[in-house]
Amino acid sequence: MDRFENNLRDALLRRPSPPAHLADKVVARAATLKRFSALEKRRPIRWLMAAAAVLLVAVVSIVIFERGVNRTHAALEIADGPTYLVTGGASRIAQAGTSIGIGDTVRSGGGAMLRLADGSLVELRSHSEVALQAASDGMLLQLNGGSIIVTAAKQRNGHLYVRTKDVAVSVVGTVFLVNAEEAGSRVAVIQGEVQVQEGTKSEKLRPGQQVATNPLMEIHPLTEEISWSHRASSHVALLEQSAPASSGVAVPARLQFEVVSLRPVPQTATFGSAERLFRCRGVDGIFHATTGDLFNLSFLASELATLPASAVPLGRCVGLVHPGQLVAQAYGVLTNRVSNSSTWPDIYQIEAKAPNPSTVTKAELRQMLQSLLADRYAFRMHREIAEVQGCILVIAKNGPKFKETSGDEEIQPRPTAPTGPMTFTGKFRMKTFADSLCFFACRVPVVDRTGLPGIYDLTVTINFGGLGGGGGGNRGGAGEGDSICSSTVSDALQDQLGLRLDRAKVPVEYLVVDHIEKPSEN
């Protein structure tokens, strides 16, 4: 080996050690795989199912006898992470084999699988919540959030229903996915057919078809939607059998800008000046590229505050933008929730005009930015949920010290220097407040667990002292999150607002960039 080859060998041997959690993750996944394959093997054996049904009836009888009220209608088959069973307002950890009755709610920390009394299987994605309720002619699964895939057994004497806040699905014998988000719900069929009721509108979905209740919800290929499932490969195989060429998506046409101009900008451009900052203006307000939507709290806050609204014509998006920030704006997430890409194109000067500038909303402009990314940057991504060290925002012992207000959220620019005391003030939903704490104060994700549903007048001043405050937003280490969330910020919140931050593992959704390239010519 000559000197060059020796250097080469040294360079290749200077590689990082695997992360400490990697082996545990692999072993846990293997254990899950084993349990799922055991489950798959058990399913076709009808006499075992019959025996299970007999056993279930026996258990139901005992439960009715002993408890008088809550009949067992399902059992937790697999808990791939902490799974909670909420009965009568009390929450406890559930383990494989735990019985679930009508009125009970199941919350999955990791994935989980329920087996209903009729043999149907309900797979919960991590961080999903489903409640079992009685229907007049069967059972109802109320999906409060997250996603489930239901493999429904043939219904003999009744019906199985799945309901979210805005859609109801009735089932005969089929495999389908239901996803409930804040923006709306999504139903997709893998095998068989389901009847979907949305308000007074009713439609039948067949394999490969999806329906979303909100036109602004992103639609992904069905294979992508079910990729989180431990049984994804068998679902995909079913889908290929049932709907070989189907990609039916029953959603309105996507929104697009009428005119788009993209011009490359030298990297030496004055990217950081407010007047060149990328911003979009809809009839309901402006959003900027440096931060999340509602946070005019960036390092450019004071400059932004002096910009006249006319600097952004109505119904347009203009300015210099890094593609990572464009992605964050298009999908309404914090920039630190967008994964790094090794192929980010350069910064571009964008000028885009909506086809309906006088009526377009911010949400619609975001949808148009998504189309722009797909069409011009050939952008593709998927979403991943990771459990990371963060904080939960909860109500402190003596209750909140602020009042509910009316109208929309309004957040004032931060009036102080990034390193001094930081004041958050405005009308916030608690989720927005938690997000802003995450981005500007704690530097670790903060999840709202106050359970407060409204919009509130909040003002809190946090003195970081030597810690520094603004411009954070990295995933942050556990130690940093721990110290900041447990002391400085939490103390200020407790004293001034009656809220508290507790350290916890929290679910965080990341946008993972699968592909992006230099934008096509105008």
């Binding site: 080859e5 290749l12 041997l13 990082p16 072993v27 920039t335 592909h515």
Partner: protein, 173 residues
């Protein structure tokens, strides 16, 4: 004698560094390397009954990792280059080595076509000879040698030029 299920955890702990090293050198990305390692071990778990011995296991894992890395590149799920700030802190195993040279060489290797890249990694990081690499990648040893010579020629040519270039990182806020 086949490996048993309950031996799986210890074999993961024994071989994770090797697999992670191969995948990291191939992609220069910790996240993709993690994914590859997980997939390879799960594949291994499903095939435990077919693996006869510890020696067979090591060869099996290297082979699975090599093919998995190449498949990931071909499926377009990974990119060839990685941003500066995606590189983790490197262990200080060779304090006398020039960190700039190390980083440039890693990047140059990661920019090679996938087969040449894997051959260079197996040769220099895993200390495998052409015969072993050929068996791992399903190609004749002579083809391995040809690929290796071509890869080395490219690296020798580009290394001085790369060292002379100033890095312009991406603009980040």
């Amino acid at each position: 004698m086949a490996i048993k299920d309950d031996e799986f955890e210890s074999l993961v702990r024994e071989h994770e560094a090797m697999l992670y090293g191969i995948a990291f050198n191939f992609f220069l990305s910790t996240s993709i390397a993690e994914d590859v390692v997980q997939e390879v071990f799960l594949q291994c778990f499903e095939n435990l009954k077919n693996i006869e011995s510890p020696a067979h296991l090591k060869a099996w894992l290297r082979r699975a990792a090599a093919h998995r890395c190449i498949d990931v590149v071909r499926s377009g799920k990974a990119q060839k280059e990685v941003q500066m700030d995606e590189l983790p802190d490197m262990p200080d195993t060779a304090p006398e080595s020039d960190p700039l040279l190390t980083e440039r060489l890693q990047r140059l290797v990661a920019s090679l076509p996938e087969k040449q890249r894997m051959i260079v990694i197996l040769r220099y990081a895993e200390d495998m000879d052409s015969d072993e690499i050929g068996k791992t990648l399903d190609m004749p040893a002579s083809t391995v040698r040809t690929h290796l010579q071509r890869a080395l020629a490219v690296l020798r040519e580009k290394a001085p030029r790369a060292l002379g270039e100033e890095h312009h990182g991406p603009i980040r806020k």
